[in-house]
């Protein structure tokens, strides 16, 4: 009896109020993080990204020759109230001596929905594929793989709504659907209310303590209207096909797979990542420029596979291979060629190797060598990159 009383006493005196919580910072200020990125690039016969058979858009491109800044990214995030979470990511980008502010993300998540649902609205990176929802500072190579550049403009974000549902199973099953304004590549603003919509599914899990995996399949339907090749801003690229516009349908299927391994499950010491994505796009519609127009239908494919191995703390090496090819038809071959969509030399392949060193979790230096064979021409590039994070550093996605 005495024993029980002592126990009860301990329970009573030791317990603190249930509501007591520590938070990461006592203040109400949003978490603020700033990413500094830049590189030195040296090209040999590869001073611009030209992909025959593809109408490029978004932020597809290569860094400029010599020293240059990449995106300088500012991110603010916080819970708004018990129901909502908000995040803003803005990138400072230099273009022809003018510094522009690009709002990449400005979204709100409804976090308190029941039944495993989450609603996101505002501007955000689409959940299709694997790499698209990863911020550039967490990429394993200096540039995005060719298919991500060709099919998603280096990363597809837009204004819209996303709904995801997570199954209540031990196996990770996430289903999602999005509708977008369709304002950015691969869509382009038309008169419709909705210019793009997507559905995607991801499944994943662990095998023992050492292995984890994720598979996904996504579909993006876009209705570009008057889509021209070219960018909102540019590092280095192609303005020469800008006059020819495409109006029609652009449907993209992505299959993605990721496998990660860490000996003993301890990724601090060593770990290996293998990831691959396959892209298939079908486009059909009309090409037109002043005084000329014609039918166009295209079937374009691409994939990349990469592996990154951390062989000791702070040091990683990586290899990547990417490929593209297109099969385009047009009623007016000359117009097709002028639009950059002639598929005669559309086979593109690239090999990249990188090594990076991270003095801490917040800093990283990377050396990358790339060799490409695009449109029958071969070229090469050397990059030296730095990525530095200041302030709060949020958790990364798998």
């Amino acid at each position: 009896m005495r024993k029980m009383t002592l126990g009860a006493l301990l329970l009573g005196t030791l317990a603190q109020p249930v509501a007591a919580q520590l938070s990461d910072s006592a203040a109400y200020n949003p978490a603020l993080s700033l990413t500094l990125m830049g590189q030195y690039a040296n090209y040999h016969k590869l001073d611009e990204l030209r992909l025959p058979g593809f109408q490029l858009g978004g932020e597809a491109g290569l860094p400029e020759q010599g020293f240059s800044l990449d995106h300088t990214e500012l991110t603010l995030s916080a819970n708004i109230d018990p129901h909502f979470y908000g995040q803003v990511s803005a990138a400072l980008v230099d273009h022809d001596g003018v510094t522009k502010l690009e709002l990449e993300e400005a979204f709100v998540e409804a976090t308190a929905l029941p039944a495993g649902l989450r609603l996101t609205f505002g501007r955000f990176f689409s959940g299709v594929g694997y790499l698209n929802s990863h911020h550039r500072h967490s990429w394993d190579f200096v540039d995005a793989p060719l298919p991500v550049q060709a099919f998603l403009g280096g990363g597809y974000y837009d204004d819209g709504l996303q709904l995801t549902w997570l199954a209540p199973s031990a196996l990770f099953v996430e289903l999602g659907a999005e509708t977008f304004r369709g304002g950015s590549f691969p869509a382009a603003k038309g008169d419709d209310d909705v210019g793009a919509y997507t559905v995607f599914a991801h499944v994943g899990g662990d095998i023992g303590f050492e292995h984890s995996w994720q598979l996904g399949v996504s579909q993006l339907w876009a209705k570009p209207a008057e889509r021209t090749a070219g960018h909102d801003h540019a590092h280095h690229h192609h303005h020469h096909h800008a006059a020819i516009a495409f109006t029609g349908n652009s449907d993209l299927t992505i299959v993605d797979a990721v496998w990660k391994w860490a000996p003993g499950g301890n990724l601090r010491a060593r770990h290996l990542t293998v990831q691959a994505e396959y892209f298939l796009r079908r486009e059909s519609g009309e090409l037109h420029e002043a005084g000329a127009s014609g039918r166009y239908s295209g079937r374009q494919k691409g994939w990349y596979a990469q592996t990154v191995y951390q062989f000791m703390p702070r040091w990683r090496v990586g290899l990547r291979h990417d490929r593209l090819t297109s099969d385009n038809r047009g009623s007016d071959p000359q117009l097709l060629a002028e639009a950059g969509l002639a598929d005669a030399d559309s086979a593109a392949r690239r090999y990249s190797a990188m090594v990076d060193f991270s003095p801490s979790e917040f800093s990283r230096f990377r050396l990358q060598l790339t060799r490409s064979e695009i449109g029958g021409e071969s070229g090469s590039a050397i990059f030296l990159q730095y990525i530095m994070s200041l302030g709060a550093h949020g958790a990364h996605r798998f």
Partner: protein
């Protein structure tokens, strides 16, 4: 045949129902998983997100963890930014408001105790310093008792139908734990003033509890791997001031400790650090039994 199938169906449904009826607990670290099992017993089903072989600072927000957090009624984690690199991503992607920060279903161990080494200034130049203080708080068993009390309260609040059972289990655990602490303190008396070197600064609470004297750390700054220059400084200090052992956790690289041991009389001492970190450390009692045994052995 039909009857058998029907029976199987009903049994499986009932079984699934009874499994679902148990409180689902997501424990970020093995020590909290073990504690939840002590306090919840058969009434709870515990998933432990990490093992003793994993560095709890460096975990990825894996799909399997997101799926488990989605199912959880209660998540118990260390907090104090120990899980800064992964927990917030799990919470955002698990679509489970029951375990959101600030809710009844999220228990932060660090909020239940007084943290040591709260930094005077916050500057990343000082390495991976935690703003709230040193998060490795479970290595003082008196802290475990405090967290256990809070956890018992949460179990009662979340599953009031079984309140009496949780209360009984909680009282029983506190009894056994206080008795064990008294035994450990008795046995650990010779350890008072024992001079140690640590690999990473995750033994502070153990040092304070047992009166160990830390003279150096192998990491020049928290989270930064030891450089040869820094190791030479540590070696000089060990030679000058003397130390018995260099402590490292099951998940940490043993080479810097071995390097130091090869050049000085200091012994490399691999401690379990948490439940599952050695064969004997199968529960919280075994964790401290073994830790104290190993320290006493090193002293002889």
């Amino acid at each position: 045949m039909r009857k058998i199938l029907l029976t199987m169906l009903v049994t499986s449904l009932l079984w699934a129902d009874s499994a679902a009826a148990r409180l689902q607990i997501f424990a970020c670290e093995p020590e909290w998983g073990a504690l939840a099992s002590e306090l919840g017993g058969e009434l709870v089903s515990v998933f432990t997100a990490t093992t003793a072989q994993q560095d709890p600072h460096h975990i990825q927000a894996r799909p399997a963890l997101i799926a488990q957090l989605r199912r959880a009624d209660l998540a118990i984690c260390t907090g104090a930014e120990l899980e800064a690199g992964w927990l917030s991503m799990l919470q955002r992607r698990a679509n489970n408001p029951r375990t959101a920060p600030g809710s009844l279903g999220f228990l932060e161990a660090a909020a239940q105790v007084e943290l040591l080494e709260r930094p005077q200034r916050l500057d990343r130049a000082d390495g991976d310093v935690h703003a709230s203080g040193n998060p490795h708080l479970h290595l003082d068993p008196r802290n475990i008792a405090r967290v256990a009390a809070a956890l018992s309260q949460r179990l009662i609040a979340l599953d009031p139908g079984n309140a009496d059972a949780y209360r009984r289990r909680g009282e029983d655990f506190q009894q056994r734990w206080q008795a064990a602490i008294a035994t450990w303190e008795q046995r650990a008396r010779p350890l008072q003033g024992m001079r140690i070197v640590v690999a990473h600064n995750d033994w502070v609470y153990l040092e304070r509890w047992l009166g160990l004297q830390r003279i150096a750390a192998l990491e020049p700054r928290p989270g930064i791997p030891p450089s040869s220059g820094h190791l030479a400084t540590v070696l000089a200090k060990v030679q000058q001031e003397g130390a018995t052992a260099v402590l490292y956790a099951a998940y940490q690289d043993r080479r810097p400790a071995d390097w130091l041991a090869a050049r000085s009389p200091v012994q490399p001492l691999r401690l379990p650090y948490t439940v599952g970190g050695s064969q004997r450390a199968t529960d919280l009692f075994g964790l401290f039994d073994e830790t104290i045994d190993l320290l006493l052995e090193a002293l002889q």
